[in-house]
């Protein structure tokens, strides 16, 4: 106990020390975003979240466009997503998120493409609506199998007063297919998060409940929501749900289609993995259509099994029995994975800075491998995320909201974790420091990490990151005098 208190004090001291590096006003602001978890009084570690990043601090955050085009809409594979505005936004978000889909790119699927209206000065001066109309016609001619078009607004669109809604309505009627305007200009809100919300609302207003299932439906129809199929995550999760006897009628939005979004209101239950980015639509469907929703977590066997049972408990004996059978079938594989990797990873300490659900959802998977998360935080979480997170954190865990590059570096230098999980902007900083790192947005070009099929991949990747023989080479063997 006294050890714990000592650790607690040490970490609180560390947080204070890091804060000293800021100018006064920024320090006051950043102070509210940092906390050390006190197990005895978890209410004391509430952090302020979802407010503006301070200018100039090097936040990891992105923008509303990234939240809509990059996260929610981009994975809808049978629609063409126009990055509406100058060329950059679409270029930087092109084919980089790894939201896999089954389909032929440029023929019936349009995910790994960068479609841009490439605004020029004249478009800024005279408006881009005419160009947008012409673009939609050009896309129709080139891609006859597209099932719809979305217009993802970049900053200038909202500043110059274009009426993309009018264009969308007119073209949608003319083409008899969804043409959907999204007001996700990058200056809206404080992070990606508002982009998720805006995208949810647009789906609600332009698509939801507009179509029926291809059949009469079954009592076991569910929608898989908030899974972006990074490296095939949604496929691994869907597999489990189907083996449990459920029928997944919609995938939001990894490997998803407009049809699936539109008929989701015919599902009996919404299962949501990434709460942050899609709770809005689930809440709406509950209010409007009485569709219940259940959060779940398919990272790591402990959480997967716990959540399979939680989901099954919402159904009848048939589903519950099948669920137990499925768990039983997977047990030998889970055991083999843990037996292989846990000895190599036991006791290793992890620092996380990610988005969406991962700062909390992945903790169980690390724990299954004997690892401990000693610091975690969200790029763009809200208070409800932190409430859900703190409950699962151990004493003296450092919690940071929208931490700056400076903060993360200071924490890492001091805590010397065995692994950091964050994004590509952060990755190479920690490589220089000699700290093992995995990109935990993109799964570092690996995956899936969801489900029973994802867990061995996760375990293997952590093992290879931490036990990479290269780390031992960083320190050179030469004595200093031989350098001079």
């Amino acid at each position: 106990m006294s050890n714990m208190t000592e650790l607690m004090e040490k970490r609180q001291h560390l947080v204070q020390e890091v804060l000293e590096g800021y100018p006064d006003a920024t320090k006051k602001e950043r102070e509210k975003h940092l906390a050390v978890v006190d197990e005895a009084d978890k209410s004391s570690c509430a952090v302020v979240s979802n407010v503006k990043s301070r200018p100039g601090v090097m936040t990891t955050r992105g923008c509303a466009y990234a939240g809509s085009k990059g996260v929610v809409w981009g994975p809808i594979k049978d629609a063409i997503h126009i990055s509406h505005g100058p060329v950059g936004c679409g270029q930087y978000s092109w084919w980089s998120r790894r939201n896999y889909y089954a389909g032929m790119t440029g023929i019936n699927s349009f995910g790994a493409m960068q479609v841009t209206s490439d605004f020029q000065e004249r478009d800024i001066v005279f408006g881009g609506d005419k160009k947008l109309t012409a673009i939609i016609d050009e896309l129709e001619a080139l891609f006859p199998l597209n099932r719809g078009i979305t217009i993802q607004s970049e900053c200038p669109v909202g500043l110059i007063g274009d009426d993309i809604e009018a264009v969308a309505r007119a073209k949608g009627e003319e083409l008899s297919k969804p043409v959907i305007p999204v007001r996700c200009e990058g200056f809206r809100g404080v992070s990606q998060s508002l982009g998720h919300h805006i995208a949810n609302d647009v789906i609600r207003d332009w698509l939801l409940d507009k179509r029926d299932l291809p059949d009469m439906g079954t009592p076991y129809d569910v929608a898989l929501i908030g899974d972006y199929n990074i490296g095939g995550d949604a496929w691994a999760s869907r597999r489990i749900l189907e083996e449990m006897g459920l029928r997944v009628v919609s995938q939001w939005s990894g490997d998803g289609t407009l049809q699936e979004l539109a008929h989701t209101t015919k599902a009996k239950l919404n299962l949501i993995h990434c709460y942050r980015s899609m709770n809005y639509i689930c809440q709406y469907m509950e209010n409007q259509f009485n569709i219940p929703w259940q959060e779940f977590n398919f990272f790591g066997p402990t959480k997967i099994i716990e959540n399979m049972r939680k989901i099954a408990s919402l159904f009848d004996d048939y589903i519950q029995e099948r669920t137990e059978q499925v768990i039983k079938q997977y047990e030998p594989r889970i055991k083999a994975t843990i037996e292989r990797y846990r000895p190599r990873l036991e006791g290793k300490k992890v620092m996380l800075l990610v988005g969406g659900l991962r700062p909390r959802h992945t903790i169980g998977a690390y724990e299954d491998l004997g690892m401990q998360v000693i610091a975690t935080g969200y790029e763009f979480g809200h208070v409800d995320d932190y409430e859900r997170t703190v409950a699962g954190l151990g004493d003296a865990t450092i919690l940071y909201d929208d931490p700056t590059a400076y903060e993360m570096e200071e924490f890492a230098k001091n805590l010397r974790p065995d692994l950091i999980g964050s994004g590509v902007k952060e990755k190479y900083v920690y490589h220089k420091m000699g700290i093992p790192f995995r990109q935990m947005h993109s799964w570092d070009y690996s995956g899936p990490y969801h489900g029973f099929d994802g867990f061995p991949v996760f375990a293997r990747d952590l093992d290879m990151a931490i036990n990479n023989p290269g780390w031992t080479l960083i320190k050179n063997p030469f004595e200093e005098r031989s350098l001079s």
Binding site: R61, N108, E121, I135, E138, F187
Partner: protein, 518 residues
Amino acid sequence: MEDSTSKSTASKVDGERWIVKDHNTLFESPNYQKQFADKRIFEQGATEEEIASVEAWTRTWEYREVNFARSNVLINPAKACQPLGGILAAAGFANTLPLVHGSQGCVAYFRSHFSRHFKEPFAAVSSSMTEDGAVFGGLKNLREALVNAVQLYKPDMVAICTTCMAEVIGDDVSSFVADFREEGVVDANLPVAFANTPSFVGSHITGYDNMMRAILSDQAKGVSDKDSTKINIIPGFETYVGNIREVKHILQALGVEATILGDTSDALDSPATGEYIMYPGGTPLKQLRAAATNRATIALSRYSTKKTMDMIRKRWKQDTMALIPPIGITATDAFIKEIQHVTGCDISEELLRERGRAVDAMLDSHPYLHGKRIALVGDPDVLLGTVSFLLEMGAEPEHIVCTNGDDDFLQEMTALLATSPHGVNAKVWIGKDMWHLRSLVLTEPVDLLIGNTYAKQVAKEADIPHVRVGFPIFDRHHLHRFPIIGYNGTVFLLQQMVNAILDDLDRKSPAYSFDAIR
């Protein structure tokens, strides 16, 4: 257990060998393939027949005509926006922090983009403007950004450029910075360079030019000292750290003293030592400040240095020469001759030997490149250098696509092609994109595609080898650490091209032609 679950286990102990199936193989298993097929009921997508028929149509001349009829949308363009180039220019100076004024998402994108290419950290900050900034302007944000960034990241210089948001609302950054100096918010001794880099004008190469011009004109005062033998070299929008090192090697071999203005070679290729250093390289600011009094300036890029070179000519009164990147023998010869012309240095034995080796290597590999039809896509400068080299090899450029090429480029490339009988079949396409390129390659096939990572979609559909040249290169490692310019770089590029062709030949050759010796 022979049920469906255990049959396709994703990982297993296979004898002693532990196998983990990740996305590369996992989803090929029958149960996932069935999952995909079953999911189609809910997708209400096109039928297999429709897909096959449309796919076949997109390979036709008829489709190509539809494709080239468009004048509004770009699909898979090979260009990015101005501030990306702006912060690359800034990153080439010692202890310089790029600050991008406008929405914060842009900076997240730029940093990711560069980190994916260089596999290095890329430091840059944003003034994080939001909706109220759109209404009231970004003065407050920029002030706070400078205060925070200077205290946290302790730069010796700040280089500010703009996103389209700041440009559209018309923030006057120069007067903002002047105010900050008056208020004492910005230390009188801290250099702050500023460039407008609107995303809706030009491309990343324009942004590089604007920022480079701003930094040089802001920092280096005076005029050319005609007695000086020291020269400046400006790499241009250069994404090969190996190229800059090769330039240094050439200068050293010639015994010429030079300042590289915008030297990213150490800044974006730092060693793993156990310590993270935020500014690991770049042109020392002292050298930057002395650059105006040097004898002359040579740029290894024409299209990303136009305004910069113009400024140098007019303000620094220097002799200037903007070359195409020295790729291949002729272009490297021209670069060295230019240095000789300016400095009066002698050619060195070392470089002559390197030249001879490069020519020797080209003669060795020539049969596999002569007459080969080549498609290229990229930035204007890289295209000019690469085509110049290909013509030396007797290779035949067929389609040259340059999304950010202008009329000057069109003329210059046309003139270059006209210098060789191997250039007669080439068609130059400015303002076109990689969806156009796809049509070109599918209707008029080629043997080799040269372009950045994104071009791999076209290469795969056309089933042709792809040599990655340009920016970004995300999917092959370390190419940017090696030079493709100078005599040494020429050998490296040649090696990639000939071996790509030979790999393809081996993969496709009938058994009798599957030769041991090539």
